[in-house]
Amino acid sequence: MTFVNVAASDQVAEGQIGAWEVEGQQVAVARVGGRVFAFSDICTHRGCTLSTGELDGTEIECECHGSVFSIETGAVVNPPATDPIATFSAREADGRIEVEV
């Protein structure tokens, strides 16, 4: 597991989500309260893209079928999804966002 340079810090503004392919994985990065969170961009329910969904605090709602996940822990907050999403360690250094995959 290594930290991979994903994006410039200013590419993810407060309350926004970006998505990148990192080492073959679809990773979403959101900024909440100044902190960056990285998580799988693929909903575990039916595979929709989470980064186009609705961010409410540290919860992301899938716009396809309404599943809600914690972007902090990956846990399912609301069905229909039953399986958690993967989350990744994320950090910022020198104006860059790095994600551990």
Partner: protein
Amino acid sequence: MVGASLTGASATAALRARGFDGRLILIGDDPLPPYERPGLSKAYLRGEEAVDDLFVREPGWWEAHEVETHFGERVHRVDPATSEVVLASGRPIAYDRALLATGVRNRHLEVPGIDLDNVLSLRTVPDCDAIRLAAASASRVVVVGMGFIGAEVTASLRTLGKEVAVVEVFETALFRILGAQIGRVLEAIHRDQGAELHFGDTVERFEGDGRVERVVTRGGLRLEADLVIVGVGTEPNAEVMHGVGLASNGGIAVDAGLATAFPGIFAAGDVATHAHPLFGPIRVEHFDNAIKMGTHVAGSMVGDATPFDDPHWFWSDQYDHQVQMGGVFLTDRMVLRGALADRRFCAFFLDETDVLRASVSIDWPRDVRRSLPLIGAVVDPASLADPDVDLRTLVPAEA
């Protein structure tokens, strides 16, 4: 739990999640553990999903959570006088609380030839398996009815490369739920995908020698077919009540908190005619409602009887397009974000006092979901029409 449906399964799981540690008995006439049905007209029908992908919980979940399951067993009746559920086998099961989540069945089309081979309908996994098997060797399919099942099956079979003709009694696709204007957008999408659509017509009879060969309509069409799929609506499975406690629409009547008129008996999901605080008595057959009502009724069953007031929400995937709707009642006042002609829009339906009654989108899902807290509230039409206005900033005013 009478009905191992999405609703029954959601209620059962919610009771355990609430810490209920008493006996839980889940009874369903389907031999499979509870599963989700949306894929049966879409990904599972197209062979893109396995049956394992459909289960509400992995099959071992029920046993692991000490749920006593009776899959493949039908309930004959619920007896409020003795507080017993009586199985079709005659075996009684006593209850302290009972949930009726028996769902709906497909309406039968009473026309000559309905019993011919390859005249099929869709509700269960075995129904879908039969359609997949028949479709594998079929080249031309007639779909009867263009509600959601008919429209989604048509899209799936066109995607698989089958010729599909549709016979629908109303003037356009999805007319009864989405109205004429949005129905016509979906109609155009289906025509562009090569579906042959016949509106304002109904089936007079099916013809064939053992197996269906053609569909003859009242309008005089003779449509060749080696497979027919009938999707002409549903009827609630309310027979367990033996004629008591029913609403005029045939569902099991429940109050705002999902209790029937009988002590200890609750109903939820497709079978329940619910005294909805916003919409009045209503019975809907939505996936999301099945989960939310099932989760809510778990609280009602253990004494937390708050009104269920979810504004209702559903989606439908057809080809590469996604339809979403929130709320219930379409009105004559439609305010648009985007354009119908672009086939990408969110339409808001207001009554004459600017109360938002429903939202419908094609490939514009975000604003339907953002509008859900506004359903039933007075909303400024100009703000709805302006795509730059974030709906979350519109505070609901008293209706």
